[in-house]
């Protein structure tokens, strides 16, 4: 096999030509390495041909208590052998109610596509499966037997997402029996089943674990990712990819922070000037068809697309048209400088509380948003980071405050802000045909110590926490019966750890939150530490936030994943242990996402994937 060592420069070309046939044949030899499952760990060893060394994928599927399932199921028994089949040989039988059946058809189609994506040469919906296969492999069939008991077709906070999955093999058929109370549970079961399959490199087939039982349900009802599409724009394809990756991790809420003071990329059919003035360009706009498409794309993947219209702060660009149309100033302090005096980051802008026409426009925005995202079960009002100095230095607002004898101190402004919030809630309810839905608000001045229940009704609002996990405020909110969603920035802000985008040094919430930090953030523990009670009913779940000052569609995937997967296991499984036992499974989940077309970041040298457990601290 060795090339001639005396090869001179002139015969070099000939050498190379001669070597090419050997080169290409070279790696079709079996790999020199094999894997053995020892104490739940895949151990690499030289393949001597004597011992029963397996491929890495075989070992990953079958070694350890749950193989490489992610997020880890509540209860699972995974067999230690596999059968091989060709992914075109999948059949299904579904038992379901009418609306559910059409969803289920789509889920099965996605499942089949994901099987093909295991192939290393998968590209654009297609992979070459060439074998060579033995007759038993060709004959083997994967049969799906899916039963959905309920008729729910929209995800709600009370949706039962549990499922049971039984994989059994007899003769030339492996049957995956799925029973779920709702479509959403059945969909999760199909994700789990995908994770019980892997590519077999020596025979160019798929293998499926021959025998497995999984009983599974999520620890939290709300498992979210926030994407901010205002600071920078993300095209529809990149959001689709995000939804695909969320589905692969059983996350169920895509919180869409569509607008902010920077840009207004949402095209509203009755208020087109919002996008005209507010979008970065005519190509960076979400048209109604795009939004409807994404809402449906998410629903099929078990994901609620939750709209946020952040107000009264975090508005600005897009609202400039009001004055010219005779509606007066809809927003004040828009792009005002120096920004440091009027907002937390440039550009500034806040709704004009003194202008009653602002509410007409707000109502109109709600009308369209409700229609685009309908039917909504939650709505995010934003409500963070109001800058009182902006209002208090705007003549129109100060004179309105004076005329109405509201006063001019901080409390007076907080009062008016809460009045605004109540009006917003009424407008949204009106837009939603009178049907009240819980509103979500960020922690803010309104929720500060002693204030929250003064301004906000705990039966109507859910509070999303973004302070640190040690903030006493969290305890207070829980004790005042607010339902909460955790997004504490010390663990779940995925935009931290880069250079400051204004001025020098690193950005405000540095350092970068590694996947370990994301994994270890435990809402129940935080609650228990602050109050002595885990508040399992009030804590709806959690959400990792990707604010987009320093990210756009070019690097979205690597910023979100695999950290989003770490979040997913915390929220689905809520394990009692820290990240360490999860590491090898996470690395495999990352590989799986990459195979599916998600540009997830590497967290270790590939060596660590091939040498399980050896990249220890």
């Amino acid at each position: 096999m060795r090339g001639s060592t005396t090869c001179s420069a002139t015969c070099l070309l000939a050498c190379v030509v001669l070597l090419i046939p050997t080169t290409s044949a070279f790696f079709s030899l079996p790999s020199p390495w094999g894997y053995k499952c020892v104490n739940s760990t895949c151990v690499k060893e030289e393949n001597t041909g004597v011992s029963q060394a397996r491929t890495l994928n075989f070992c990953k599927l079958t070694c350890g208590e749950v193989g490489v399932l992610w997020p880890r199921p509540t209860k699972a028994v995974v067999g230690d052998n596999v059968v091989e089949f060709i992914p075109t040989n999948v059949t299904q039988k579904t038992t379901c109610q009418q609306g559910v059946c059409s969803l289920l058809d789509q889920a099965v189609r996605i499942f089949k596509d994901n099987l093909h994506r295991h192939h290393p040469e998968y590209s654009k919906g297609w992979a070459t499966w060439v074998g060579p296969w033995d007759p038993a492999t060709i004959a083997h069939k994967l049969h799906l037997d899916i039963t959905v008991e309920g008729g729910e077709t929209r995800l709600g906070l009370n949706t039962d997402e549990s499922y049971t999955l039984r994989v059994s093999t007899s003769g030339s058929t492996t049957t995956a029996q799925i029973i779920a109370p709702s479509y959403f549970g059945a969909r999760h079961a199909l994700e789990t089943l995908t994770q019980l399959t892997e590519y077999e490199e020596n025979r160019d087939t798929l293998m499926v674990v021959n025998d497995a039982t999984v009983e599974d349900s999520p620890a939290f009802a709300y498992r979210g990712i926030l994407l901010d599409t205002s600071r920078n724009f993300f095209d529809v394809k990149s959001i689709e990819r995000t939804l695909d990756a969320m589905a692969a991790n059983k996350l169920n809420t895509f919180h869409w922070h569509i607008t902010d003071s920077h840009s207004f990329p949402l095209y509203l059919e009755t208020l087109p000037k919002m996008a005209y003035y507010g979008a970065y360009s005519s190509r960076q706009v979400y048209y109604p068809a795009d939004v409807r498409h994404l809402v449906e794309y998410g629903r099929v993947r078990g994901i609620r697309v939750l709209p946020e219209f952040d107000a009264p702060a975090h508005v600005g660009n897009g609202f400039q048209w009001g004055e010219k149309q005779g509606l007066g100033k809809l927003a004040v302090c828009v792009n005002q400088e120096p920004w440091q005096s009027y907002c937390v980051e440039p550009p500034c802008g806040q709704l004009n509380l003194a202008n009653p026409k602002m509410y007409d426009v707000l109502g109109q925005i709600y009308n369209e948003m409700v229609e685009l995202f309908s039917p909504i079960d939650l709505f995010h009002y934003g409500g963070d980071e109001v800058n009182l100095n902006c209002w208090n230095t705007t003549d129109e607002i100060t004179s309105w405050m004076d005329e109405n004898n509201f006063g001019r101190d901080a409390d007076a402004y907080y009062n008016q802000w809460s009045v605004f919030q109540e009006k917003s809630r009424q407008l949204l309810t009106a837009a939603n045909a009178g049907k009240e839905v819980p509103g979500i608000l960020w922690t803010s001045h309104l929720t500060e110590e002693g204030r929250a229940d003064q301004y906000l009704d705990p039966t109507k609002y859910i509070i999303q926490i973004w302070t640190t996990g040690t903030d006493k405020l969290i305890g207070e909110l829980l004790e005042k019966n607010f339902r909460v969603i955790f997004s504490n920035y010390d663990h779940w802000y995925l935009d931290c750890g880069f250079g400051a985008w204004v001025g020098e040094g690193n950005n405000w919430c540095s350092p970068y939150k590694g996947w370990q930090a994301v994994y270890d953030n435990n809402p129940h523990e935080i609650a228990a530490n602050l109050t002595g009670n885990t508040y399992t009913n009030s804590i709806l779940g959690g959400e990792a936030a990707l604010w987009s000052e320093q990210v756009d569609e070019t690097s979205l995937d690597s910023r979100l994943w695999p950290r989003g997967a770490a979040l997913a296991e915390r929220l689905w499984t809520n394990p009692s242990h820290n990240w360490e036992p999860a590491e090898t499974r996470l690395i495999h989940q990352r590989q799986r996402m990459v195979a599916r077309g998600i540009m997830a970041d590497r967290i270790q040298p590939q060596w660590c994937h091939q040498n399980e457990g050896l990249c220890y601290l």
Partner: protein, 760 residues
């Protein structure tokens, strides 16, 4: 694709209505349907809205009501063609920054693109040129189809072919400016693509004076012919141009008549970049009537290539005319401050496919960087296919798909050369070696690498898992190393070879029975002195093998700085790569002792420290703060030396002892160790921080960062430019800041600006 869309969707150019492949079959069914009723819904919703208004009128007066209704009706009428309306904003250049303003209907419209390339002393050129720069404030629009090379003068056939390739690359970047150019199609130009363009090659292969004269003095008839016949209309267009949106729709008539000619003269015949290559160039743009001529004069191909890069930065999209625009008149003289402007990528810890390396080379060329240090293997894997010792690869590669075959490497080296980049291969030692060396023991050659037993804790044996270090006392090691070096010579034909020399662990050798026996047999103690001697045994044998493999060619080795290197290595035979943190006093010693150095301060120029938490949850070897683009920009080798007491570091004059600091400092290298990076995160981790680094080395600006807003704005544009060219560079700021250059300032910048304004 857009041409095939139904007319109704054309008005909304934002997205392709088809979803990706089979991944979303349900979407394929639903989207086209949902688009059509959408428009109907506009009217219905608007009408119902108007009715509502009528009933619950919020308007205090009838006049306002009328205005609003009129506006709404206008909006209704315009809804379909809505975003065909021009942008509501216009830009003006104020104190070197493009300021966004609402557009006045009767006023002049200046697009952001135009403002960006003309505003400020340097427009949006990155890196900033070091010589004279004059840019006119006006631009002239033209169709990219009417841009041609009318002269490519060189006396060397090979240079002529290289110029053809550079011109093609340049042309691509201009077509990429169209916002509708599909991002996924912006892949590296393959040799096949290039082969398909035979007409390009034939035209300028030789310097036939008569032919050159013919081009220079084209008759009026020829010119008219050229105007009437866009170049690509008859011939089969190149694959990338076939996808160009500029081809689908003609530019506005006023623009169609404008021609852009590029005239290139290269005087020297260099076709391989070396440290002494002259990379300077002169670029002049002149517009007379409906002809713009860009004249490039450079002594080497490499200078000419840089000139095309600069020219591409003086051209921007023109959204009004479906065309591009170029700065009307310009004069630029430019040459780099440092000879070595490098980047190191580690393909041993994680593998990068060939296409990703080519994209990397493209992006380096966009920033005029010129050395690619390829850290091929590491203890984790050995991905290079060795013709002479193929078992290295068989045992060492992650899998059969993760191998660089000789033909891949040659292609990459040639590709790099065309981008003005020289490739420096590294097979380093003695540390960082394990993968691949396993085969030998079975064949009776003993242990070639030590400390590879995974039962031993890695932290006792090396800096990171997996541990492994070459066995310096096994004589079988060196012939094999020699064979690998011969492979390097064949594949790379390198000017320099990196020999590693970092992170050697004496603890590894200490723990090895084999080494201990050897020491006691030769009556030596287990002291660090003896381990340095062992290291020297390795290094000098490896050096000899390298020179043998070079067969008389001059190949300069590079080695990482260390106390070993300082005490054992001959300063005249090696180049030193300094990885010490900035301002460590030892850095000055290298210069004072006359070493030739490349700066690579790991606290400033390490790109890997962004997300580093791969072993456990603590970042290692990284500063507590992530190096930002300002760190990359601010780290100045010469200023650092001045600070450390090297006199006249910036002076061009020879010192009394005959040395000249500027000759000893070859330049700098940014590094990316791939612990937690592979092709997925590569581009966003290195760009645009490495652009900042590139300007430090090309321009070596002496002023402090007080004008950060000017640097920041050019950097934002450079980032945007790379994205247009298909590079997934990270954004540093919200796009808002790109669109309003004066808006995102720090307190310091605000103060500096108000002071400036007050002075004026």
């Amino acid at each position: 694709m857009a041409a095939k869309q139904p007319p109704s969707t054309r008005a909304r150019p934002a997205f392709s209505p088809l979803p990706i492949g089979a991944s979303s079959p349900e979407a394929a069914r639903e989207r086209p349907e949902s688009r059509a009723p959408g428009r109907k819904a506009v009217r219905v919703a608007l009408l119902s809205y108007l009715q509502k208004l009528w009933i619950f009128s919020p308007f205090s007066s009838m006049v306002e009501m009328k205005v609003f209704v009129a506006a709404a009706l206008l909006a209704l009428a315009a809804a379909e063609g809505y975003f065909r309306l021009p942008n509501p904003y216009s830009y003006s250049c104020q104190d070197g920054l493009c300021v966004k303003e609402e557009r006045i209907v009767s006023g002049e419209y200046n697009s952001l693109d135009k403002c960006q390339i003309t505003c400020g002393e340097y427009g949006s050129i990155w890196p900033q040129p070091t010589g004279k720069v004059e840019l006119s404030k006006e631009t002239v629009s033209f169709s990219p189809l009417h841009m041609r090379v009318t002269k490519a003068a060189t006396s060397d056939n090979r240079v002529a072919r290289m110029l053809d390739n550079a011109i093609q690359h340049f042309t691509r970047t201009i077509h990429f400016l169209h916002p509708d150019f599909p991002q996924t199609e912006k892949q590296p130009l393959t040799p096949e693509d290039f082969e398909n363009t035979g007409h390009f090659n034939q035209k300028f292969q030789n310097e036939d004076p008569a032919q050159q004269e013919q081009y220079r003095q084209r008759s009026e008839y020829d010119r008219n012919q050229l105007r009437q016949r866009p170049r690509y209309s008859r011939e089969e267009p190149e694959s990338f141009i076939r996808r160009s949106p500029f081809l689908r729709k003609r530019s506005n008539p006023g623009v169609e008549s404008h021609n852009v000619n590029i005239e290139i003269t290269v005087t020297a015949s260099d076709h391989k970049l070396r440290l002494d290559t002259d990379e300077s160039y002169n670029l002049v743009i002149q517009t007379v009537g409906d002809e713009t001529t860009a004249t490039i004069l450079a002594s080497t191909y490499y200078g000419a290539r840089h000139a095309l890069e600069t020219l591409s930065q003086l051209i921007a999209y023109d959204d009004i005319n479906n065309a591009v625009q170029v700065v009307r008149d310009a004069q630029i003289q430019d040459a780099p401050s440092f000879r070595y402007r490098g980047f190191m990528l580690d393909t041993g810890r994680n593998f990068y496919p060939k296409e990703d390396l080519m994209k990397l080379l493209d992006s380096m060329a966009y920033n005029k960087m010129n050395y690619f240090h390829w850290h091929i293997n590491d203890a984790a894997s050995f991905p290079m296919y060795s013709n002479r010792v193929p078992k290295m690869t068989y045992y060492g590669a992650y899998d059969a798909r993760k191998v660089y075959y000789p033909e891949d490497i040659r292609e990459i080296v040639e590709y790099a050369n065309l981008r003005g980049i020289s490739v420096i291969p590294e097979i380093g030692g003695p540390a960082h070696n394990a993968a691949g060396w396993q085969w030998a023991q079975k064949e009776g050659k003993g242990k070639l690498a030590l400390c590879t037993d995974s039962n031993e804790p890695w932290f006792e044996l090396s800096k990171e898992p997996p541990s492994g270090q070459i066995n310096p006392i096994n004589p079988e090691v060196y012939p094999i190393l020699g064979e690998l070096y011969r492979d390097l010579m064949d594949y790379f034909d390198p000017e320099m070879v990196h020999m590693g020399g970092d992170d050697v662990s004496f603890k590894c050798w200490q723990s090895s029975e084999e080494i201990q026996q050897y020491l006691s047999q030769t009556k030596r103690e287990s002291t660090s002195r003896e381990y340095f001697e062992l290291w020297n045994t390795y290094q000098s044998s490896a050096y000899n093998k390298l020179q043998e493999a070079a067969q008389g060619r001059q190949v300069t080795p590079i080695i990482y700085s260390s106390s070993f290197a300082r005490n054992y290595i001959d300063k005249d035979s090696y180049v030193f790569q300094i990885s010490e943190f900035a301002n460590e006093s030892v850095i000055a010693d290298y210069i004072k002792n006359g070493y030739k150095v490349i700066f690579s301060n790991q606290d400033q120029w390490n790109l890997g420290c962004l997300t580093n938490t791969w072993v456990g949850d603590k970042a290692e070897n990284c500063p507590s703060e992530v190096p930002t683009w300002e760190n990359f920009y601010r780290n100045s080798p010469l200023d650092m030396l001045e600070y450390l007491g090297v006199n006249n570091a910036r002076s061009d004059i020879q010192q009394a002892d005959g040395t000249n600091t500027k000759n000893l400092v070859l330049g700098g290298e940014a590094t990316l160790w791939s612990f937690d990076t592979d092709a997925n995160g590569l581009q966003s981790k290195i760009w645009p921080r490495m652009s900042a680094f590139a300007e430090r080395l090309w321009t070596d600006p002496q002023s402090s960062l007080s004008g950060t807003s000017f640097t920041q704005k050019r950097l934002n544009i450079q980032r945007q430019r790379m994205v247009y060219r298909g590079i997934a560079a990270d954004p540093l700021q919200p796009e808002f800041c790109l669109q309003d250059e004066g808006a995102c300032f720090s307190r310091e910048q605000y103060r500096a600006r108000t002071t400036l304004n007050n002075q004026q």
